[in-house]
């Protein structure tokens, strides 16, 4: 009888869902710390980060673009726009670095200031800076940060080559994806897997080809196993994920100046009907495992242009195709 086994058993389904925080550094949970920030002492509970210390003394003084204030999201140390100087460990990403007892933190350590500036420019260099037509205009954390940090001319330019843009994925009824505005902060992936525990989104590819993709190997939102809970779009810092119906609400109000026009290419929804209506999770996950085994939809191959072949037609209702 299974009850003879006293160890807690996590159902297999959880193992099949990639956790978004797999690569997060773990924080020591056992000791409290006393640190100084620009000379000012701060007491911290166990598990606190350097950023927690800074927030107590000088709130909102750092960009920390990929950081999100939720226990299941991050810290991830992706963008490194939050680095600060320490006497003992050099410059560190404050969002994830444990606050160690006795540490002295200098926000304006010149090396840290330079690193933050370079790192923010690196983010901007891979971001399509088309703010006036962006769904997050006026509500964008990257825009706010660039203005707060007085960015005038980013060192590495901005991502403005339209021929290199990925099409907007407008296939979901509710959520629009513009990967050209994604800063790879990973918040959406963690929201999907660690808050909603749904196993839809993942990061795929490597280097310059890294992108938000789907664990099932699907190419578009409508083909994915998304349940439209909205956590991903809620946590996105930029215009990469926007609530549909809201994408042109704060853009420049001129005819033609729309999000879709600006990017230029769009994947629209097909007429495909979603079947089955009440899918079994294990069937969805089995499907994605099959695809990974057969090579389609593997992290390195998944990219726009693979075509619909990446997703087997499992629609017995005869819709689509």
């Amino acid at each position: 009888m299974s009850t003879d086994d006293p160890t807690p058993r996590i159902p297999e389904i959880f193992e099949a869902i990639d956790t978004g925080t797999a690569s997060d550094p773990s924080l020591p949970r056992d000791e409290s710390a006393r640190v100084t920030v620009d000379g000012e002492p701060v007491e911290l509970a166990a598990g606190a980060t350097v950023l927690d210390a800074i927030q107590k003394v000088k709130p909102d003084s750092l960009p920390a673009l990929c950081q999100y204030d939720h226990p299941d999201i991050g810290p991830r140390s992706e963008c490194r726009t939050c680095v600060v100087g320490t006497d003992s460990h050099g410059i560190v990403p404050s969002c994830s670095y444990p606050a160690k007892d006795g540490m002295a933190v200098q926000i304006d350590d010149p090396r840290a200031v330079e690193a933050r500036s370079v790192n923010l420019d690196l983010v901007l260099g891979n971001h399509n800076l088309r703010c006036t037509t962006c769904g997050k205009n006026g509500r964008c954390e990257l825009q706010d940060t660039a203005i707060d940090e007085a960015v005038e001319t980013p060192r590495y330019g901005v991502f403005d080559d339209r021929s290199a843009y990925e099409p907007i994925d407008d296939t979901s009824s509710f959520i629009q994806i513009d990967r050209n505005k994604c800063i790879l902060c990973n918040r959406c992936v963690e929201a999907c897997n660690d808050i909603q525990v749904e196993g839809v989104l993942r990061m795929e590819g490597s280097g310059a080809d890294t992108r938000i993709g789907f664990q099932s190997g699907a190419e578009t939102m409508e083909e994915s196993t998304c349940v439209s809970c909205g956590h991903c779009v809620t946590v996105c810092p930029t215009g990469a994920l926007v609530e549909k119906g809201f994408e042109d609400a704060t853009t420049i109000p001129l005819p033609g100046f729309t999000q879709k026009n600006s990017v230029g290419s769009v994947i629209e929804a097909s007429d495909r009907r979603r079947r089955p209506v009440t899918p079994a999770k294990r069937d969805e996950l089995a499907k994605s495992t099959d695809e990974l085994d057969s090579g389609t939809g593997s992290p390195d191959q998944g990219h726009a242009g693979d075509g619909e072949d990446g997703v087997p037609d499992v629609d017995p209702w005869g819709g689509g195709a």
Partner: protein, 752 residues
């Protein structure tokens, strides 16, 4: 030139214009990029964004779908809901940043073109738009005619759990004071009334004992008859997180729902026999000395009678009755009994039976003998369905037997208090419950109805019967957002507004009263229910003078001890309050029964229950058991969700879930139309072949009137204590349907 050519030319022009605009946009952006620094572009864009944001309205409010009680900011331009985003953390204590597809994205119904915007009165030519004054006069005359001739009890009111607490208080008051009858009820009768009846008897309050933190922090869940990931998605999210972190999740359900896939233990039970397996678990725990003896001794009465009553539920007997094998009963019992704390969660799979009250009583007994009531991380947790069925459907007393705060209308002292406050006489006899109203109307005991925000023509059991009753009524007033299936039978239709167009409070599934704040002006001439009721009462001659829902709360809190300390000011300041909150200094009660139970002696009443067969049982002629429910992408009869194209893309018709073996036996392929017949009716729906149901069970959701599953259910199979119908068990037979069912052919065409 043919129409086709014309549209070809028009299409080309359209595309050319779009291309030209795109080119202009691209050139303009190019010029800007060449001549301005990125910093300047940021500042220009931001100023545009800020200006446009300033034109939007951002209002924090409470969700109008299920009763989890999610709060968030609603962004509108005054006409449409544009988006839903997280509100300040302290204003969203239940959900934080969490949402589901309905609460975050499904608001097209609010600005739908077919919203009712003016009152309608039936004439020989159909419905005619009229002024509010004319409409009120017509309602007054219609109700008064029946009242004069047949007495007040020939009238009844169905109130709405979609409406606010304040509005439901007025609906109950309207029935008693203005009409003079206790014939007032609401949709709680069709869902959790057995929960309310059972819990009131065993522990004292007909409500969840837990707070949200208990649901998040427990070591173990027993969930049954709840398709949580689809019907209460945000609660399911919390459960999944906790199970991932090591909590046990025991699921019993006739369908292997998605939550069962996340479970540490799943047992497939036969629909209709829940008391048997629950009593079997209770017996196992008592037999093996796994019960909490100290808790039973200190906090309960009736243990020896309970022990005796569960003796018949031996593992072998339970298997015989429910199909659940002994080892599964033992495993579930061990898991529940050895957990330090356990939450017992259920919805309508436990209640919508001809013996739903028995089922819930058995569940409460099990929670009590394991000591899992009144402590952190443990408790009884019915998940309520409608956004405000706890508050509006129960607490506010639009009920035939209770006045606000579950005060018994049969109690002379209670009656006297309300008679003094309302300056009227209240009948001492209980009124008719919703399902009984339809049976009473058949006998001409009820001749007029006032139905507010309830699509009874689709939601009542056996809708053929409900339709006949509605069409035979002498006078019917329907107050709704749309000319829905019920309104088609009405003599007068009064246009009401959605929750984003009004203010008030909702009470969530954990007794948390939260503010609803108006985010948009009412559409057309439509009005909030509380305004309509106030003006109608005035027109009839009563001195109702409410000008703000806060005034109504002020009145009701003084008559309702569990709401005694709740005011709109406090709710705004404190981010919601959980009842009981007896006075203005009381912080509210996050968890019930920490010290004592709300019973006469403060002890919980362990109450022996046996088991009963469902009223309708399969036989050779009708060999399958039909059970009903919801899907994620729809809501109830679809009044709110059918107007959302994004939603109907997912589900545009009902369907029947068949086990692959069952489908193979009948030669039915996925998507084939299937005729499903019960002893009272038949429908044709497409097949969805899945291993979710057992081989003897079929499942049909309840969302579409064209294929209303309630053509199959029985209007007179009721739970005796609560009068709740047996939606979850109907004997049916299936046959492949020759030809095509309308919904499936439509879907295939549009998919090509």
């Amino acid at each position: 030139m043919s129409d086709e050519d014309l549209s070809g030319v028009a299409g080309m022009m359209q595309r050319a214009k779009a291309k030209a605009l795109q080119n202009i946009e691209h050139v303009a952006e190019g010029v800007a990029a060449e001549t301005l620094s990125e910093g300047t572009l940021f500042r220009i864009a931001e100023s545009i964004g800020e200006k446009r944001l300033a034109d939007l309205h951002v209002t924090d409010t409470t969700c109008g779908y299920c009763a989890v009680g999610c709060r968030f900011d609603v962004f509108t331009d005054g006409e449409k809901v544009l988006a839903v985003r997280p509100t300040a953390e302290e204003n969203a204590p239940v959900n934080g940043i969490s949402t589901c597809v309905k609460g975050k994205f499904s608001y097209d119904y609010v600005h739908s073109d077919d919203r009712l915007t003016t009152p309608l009165v039936r004439t020989d030519d159909g419905f005619t738009p009229v002024s509010w004054e004319t409409a009120y006069d017509t309602v007054r005359e219609g109700l008064d005619g029946i009242r004069q001739e047949h007495g007040p009890d020939a009238l009844s009111v169905i109130s709405s759990s979609k409406a606010t607490n304040e509005e439901n208080y007025l609906m109950g008051k309207f029935a008693r004071q203005v009409l003079g009858t206790n014939n007032v009820d609401n949709c709680n009768r069709l869902c959790h009334a057995p929960t309310v009846a059972a819990l009131a008897n065993v522990v004292g309050y007909g409500a969840a004992s837990v707070c949200m933190a208990d649901l998040e922090d427990t070591d173990c869940y027993l969930i049954t008859g709840s398709n949580t990931t689809e019907a209460h998605p945000v609660i399911a999210t919390r459960i999944k997180q906790n199970v991932r972190d090591g909590a046990d999740l025991v699921v019993f359900d006739p369908r292997e729902i998605q939550l069962a896939e996340y479970a540490t233990h799943y047992s497939q039970s036969q629909p209709g026999y829940d008391a048997a397996w629950i009593n079997g678990i209770t017996r196992y725990i008592i037999e093996h000395d796994l019960y909490d003896a100290a808790f039973i001794e200190d906090r309960t009465t009736g243990f020896s009678a309970l022990t005796e009553s569960v003796q018949e539920f031996t593992p072998e007997r339970v298997e015989e009755v429910t199909g659940v094998p002994p080892e599964e009963i033992a495993a579930a019992a061990e898991t529940i009994a050895t957990a330090d704390k356990c939450v017992f969660g259920w919805t309508l799979g436990l209640t919508e039976h001809s013996h739903g009250t028995e089922n819930v009583t058995a569940m409460a007994n099990l929670a009590l003998i394991t000591g899992n009531v009144g402590k952190p991380g443990a408790g009884l947790s019915p998940f309520r369905g409608q956004n405000n069925v706890q508050g509006g459907g129960g607490d506010m007393g639009p009920l035939p037997d209770n006045l606000p705060g579950y005060q018994d209308v049969g109690d002379p002292e209670v009656r006297e208090k309300f008679e003094d406050a309302w300056e009227c006489e209240i009948p001492s006899a209980y009124g008719h419950r919703t399902t009984e109203m339809f049976l009473a109307a058949e006998r001409d005991e009820i001749r007029g109805m006032y139905i507010i925000g309830e699509n009874a023509a689709v939601s009542e059991p056996n809708v053929q019967h409900a339709g006949e009753v509605l069409s035979d009524l002498e006078f019917l007033v329907v107050q709704d957002l749309f000319l829905n299936e019920t309104a088609e039978y009405a003599d007068v239709v009064l246009p009401a507004v959605t929750h984003v167009e009004k203010s008030g409070t909702f009470t969530n599934t954990t007794r948390r009263v939260q503010l609803v704040n108006q985010a948009m002006p009412p559409r057309g001439d439509a009005k909030p229910d509380w305004v309509i009721l106030t003006e109608l009462a005035q027109r009839i001659g009563y001195e109702w003078d409410y000008t703000d829902p806060a005034e109504i709360m002020e009145e009701l809190r003084q008559l309702t001890p569990i709401y005694g300390g709740i005011t709109h000011d406090r709710l705004a300041r404190e981010g919601g309050l959980q009842w009981p909150c007896p006075d203005l200094d009381h912080p509210g009660t996050d968890r019930l029964y920490s010290e004592s139970f709300n019973t006469r002696d403060g002890q919980a009443n362990l109450t022996p229950v046996g088991w009963s067969d469902p009223a309708d049982q399969p036989d050779d002629e009708y060999p399958f058991t039909l059970t009903t429910g919801r899907v994620l992408y729809q809501y109830h009869t679809g009044t709110m969700t059918h107007r959302e194209p994004g939603i109907t893309d997912y589900v545009e018709s009902d369907f029947v879930e068949l086990h692959p073996a069952t489908a193979a036996n009948y030669g039915i392929a996925d998507g084939d139309p299937v005729r499903v017949e019960s002893r009272v009716g038949e429908i044709v729906v497409p097949a969805q072949i899945t291993e979710r149901p057992g081989e003897d069970t079929v499942f049909i959701p309840m969302h579409f009137s064209a294929t209303a599953v309630n053509r199959l259910t029985h209007e007179d199979h009721l739970d005796e204590p609560s009068a709740t119908p047996e939606y979850k068990v109907t004997a049916v037979r299936i046959t492949p349907h020759e030809g095509e069912s309308a919904p499936i052919s439509a879907s295939e065409e549009s998919a090509e």
